[in-house]
């Protein structure tokens, strides 16, 4: 097989890097988003973790003390408000505790002890403060008096409050970064992620998660290198020091020595050259060597990304995740706001197909104004279309905006998380109700919108033959399908390694859906992570998939594979894969096959 490009970066460095006696630390995590990033670290949300010892430059002493004072003032204000509220609601006895906390925070002796440690030992305010509080808390260990013993909780409470404010400066700063940084955090919530100043984020190093956790998805979508499942990276990094993210291999290096830095700088440059090569593919068609056209579409979260997607060579948007417009705002977006967002997406696709998935909120994605109910097991709880069908006002507003914006455009509507025919029918009849309302109001909308569904539960996959009779298209969401089939929470780092989309069980379900689609003449596409992974590309085509929807940045590489392979070869691969009964076998086989067409593949 010939290839029109070569992957840079030679394999196997002959000489291993020597660790410098300083604090150069190399940590292995899960590669969540490929690429190299080098830059200063910014730690988010460190409040629940040990604050590491770090010395500061003499010039930073004033800054640290100011940070301490600001944190003390804010904390005191906060407690004062709590005290007032407590007096009103709970009476004087409870409010006395807050009064005490207030005095405690204002304690001059506490402040001067911390200031002393900052000045003398050049500690950060956060470290000096947590040291001081820690030593006081330890003194309570030997107290026998039960009442006094309890007071250690108060100290702990006060400590957390103040620390949150000392460290909180960093968190606020994130929306208005002035210099590019590498984000180090326990986790990033989707709502946090969309408030990030994307232009200034070089990379992510995250304690938790797996390859398909939301941080990983967002990072890949933005083309920002990320390593997740690092367990305790937030305690190894204080902020400010240089950190290297190798998102391709899943390695993070803090305080790299000169040699290491240089090596990664070189790799980063090579990566960029590689991307430039791929982008030349943009205007070439995604057709196999034996002439079969594969429709490569893009998944987007923001309307503006549709433009990026089109620029990457996508033939349309196969999945527009609308929930981000809810996560990004303080309150429920109005019909007009939603309409405007949808219209923006329609404009950006420039006449190409746009598949809009209706609100998929719930589970790990929830917004305060929707009054989350904190299901015991959110992934199996009132989420997604289930939530919409029990909150019809909200759902109808959403559908109205969607139908109005879809007029004169190639827009399809897709319902997520369908498990029963009843749900699908309810969603459809709600859609029809909204159409009637719009008709009555004389508001123009798209009458002939194509309606489809996500297949992301084993139930939907197993019943896909029945579903196929009631929809225009089906799109397989491999992330949730894998999670529900294998009973693995993809964001739980303790079981994330059990999550694998190429499990024969998942593949059988995928094949089931493809066959149901073929029998009923209904288009079936794949829009999960699998669609953008080079490893699975030939297998999916071989199983019969002709439409893949992926992160915009994955389009060129997948297109390269499509143009290199043939349907015949893909079908052979798929047949072979379906005979395996362990995911290990599948993985090894697919790796071998991918190497045949891409010898330097990192999979």
């Amino acid at each position: 097989m010939s290839r029109g490009f070569s992957r840079p970066e030679g394999r196997g460095h002959r000489s291993r890097q020597r660790r410098s006696p300083q604090a150069m630390i190399t940590k292995k995590g899960i590669n969540a988003s490929p690429g190299i990033a080098i830059g200063p670290a910014l730690v988010l949300d460190a409040e629940e973790y040990r604050i590491p010892r770090r010395t500061i430059d003499i010039s930073a002493i004033t800054t640290e003390i100011n940070a301490l004072d600001a944190a003390l003032a804010t904390s005191r204000q906060e407690v004062a408000e709590l005290r007032v509220a407590a007096t009103r609601k709970l009476g004087d006895k409870t409010s006395a505790i807050f009064a005490f906390h207030e005095e405690f925070i204002a304690d001059k002796m506490l402040r001067s002890a911390v200031v002393e440690a900052v000045k003398k030992n050049r500690y950060t305010a956060a470290f000096a403060f947590s040291q001081e509080m820690g030593s006081r808390q330890r003194m309570f260990r030997n107290v026998s008096d039960p009442y006094l013993k309890e007071r250690v909780r108060d100290l702990y409470d006060i400590e957390k409050r103040i620390l949150r404010h000392i460290l909180g400066r960093a968190r606020e700063r994130i929306t208005q970064l002035t210099t590019p940084v590498v984000i180090v955090a326990h986790d990033i919530t989707p709502s946090q992620a969309i408030t990030l100043d994307r232009g200034r984020i070089l990379g992510f190093a995250i304690n938790v998660g797996g390859q398909t956790s939301h941080t990983a998805i967002i990072a890949r979508m933005l083309g920002i290198p990320a390593v997740v499942a690092l367990n305790d990276i937030t305690t190894d990094v204080t902020g400010g020091e240089t950190i290297v993210i190798d998102g391709t291999r899943g390695v993070v290096i803090t305080n790299p020595d000169e040699e290491t830095t240089k090596r990664y700088e070189t790799r980063r440059k090579e990566d960029h050259a590689f991307e430039a090569q791929l982008s030349e593919l943009r205007d070439l068609p995604a057709v196999t060597a034996d002439g079969a056209a594969i429709s490569l579409q893009a998944n987007i979260e923001l309307a503006a990304e549709a433009r990026i997607a089109m620029d990457s060579g996508a033939e349309g948007i196969g999945l527009y995740r609308t929930e981000f417009m809810f996560l990004g705002s303080e309150r429920m977006p109005t019909e007009e706001q939603q309409y405007e967002t949808f219209r923006a997406a329609v404009r950006h696709v420039r006449g190409k197909p746009l598949t809009i998935r209706t609100i998929d909120l719930g589970a790990e994605k929830m917004v305060d104004y929707l009054e989350p109910q904190h299901d015991h097991n959110p992934a199996l709880g009132l989420r997604s279309v289930r939530y919409c069908l029990t909150h019809l006002d909200m759902f109808k507003t959403h559908l109205r905006a969607l139908l109005r914006a879809a007029i004169d455009a190639d827009v399809n509507i897709m319902f997520p998380m369908i498990t029963t025919l009843m749900e699908l029918r309810q969603a459809r009849s709600t859609l029809h109700d909204v159409m009637e309302d719009l008709e009555d109001d004389g508001i123009p909308f798209k009458h002939d919108i194509a309606m489809g569904m996500m297949v992301e539960t084993p139930a939907a996959a197993l019943l896909s033959n029945s579903f196929a009779k009631e929809v225009s298209f089906m799109s397989i969401g491999t992330n949730d399908l894998t999670q529900y089939t294998l009973a693995v929470d993809r964001a739980n780092e303790r079981v994330a390694h059990l999550y694998c989309s190429h499990s024969p069980a998942v593949l059988k379900l995928i094949r089931e859906v493809i066959q149901a689609g073929r029998r009923n003449n209904v288009d079936v596409s794949v829009c999960g992570e699998m669609a953008g992974a080079p490893l699975y590309c030939e297998m999916l085509i071989g199983l019969g998939i002709r439409q893949l929807s992926m992160a915009p940045k994955d389009v060129p590489e997948i297109k390269q594979i499509v143009r290199t392979t043939s349907i015949k070869r893909c079908e052979r691969i798929a047949r072979k894969v379906m005979r395996f009964d362990s995911d290990r076998q599948v993985l090894n086989y697919l790796r071998g096959k991918l190497r045949e067409i891409n010898p330097e593949s990192s999979y």
């Binding site: 006395a96 405690f104 002796m109 506490l110 006081r136 003194m139 008096d145 009442y147 007071r151």
Partner: protein, 96 residues
């Protein structure tokens, strides 16, 4: 400049009488009362001392019921301060 006179140090010993010892509310009362005097005031318990303006240090004394404490004051109104503060302690911080 104030307190140009050589300050006199006075001190008095007493015992914490109330059941819950030197906890939140007593400390608050103690700090509050001490702040009304210009003298610098300390509370000692065994070999550990606390500045009467610091609730944190006072709590750290962990003075439970029956603990022997020494109140000391240095300044122009040291005598009055001792009267008031020892009075507060002896009254069991007006609890129960």
């Amino acid at each position: 400049m104030h307190e140009t006179d050589t300050p006199t140090v006075q001190e008095r010993e007493t015992v914490i009488p109330n059941k819950e010892g030197l906890h939140f509310r007593p400390i608050m009362q103690f700090v509050d009362l001490a702040s009304r005097f210009s003298s610098s005031i300390n509370l000692r318990c065994d070999d550990r001392g606390a500045d009467a303006s610091s609730p944190m240090e006072l709590l750290m004394l962990m003075a439970t019921q029956g603990t022997k404490v020494t109140v000391s004051a240095r300044g122009a109104d040291a005598g009055d301060a001792l009267d008031a503060l020892v009075g507060l302690i002896d009254a069991g911080f007006n609890e129960e």
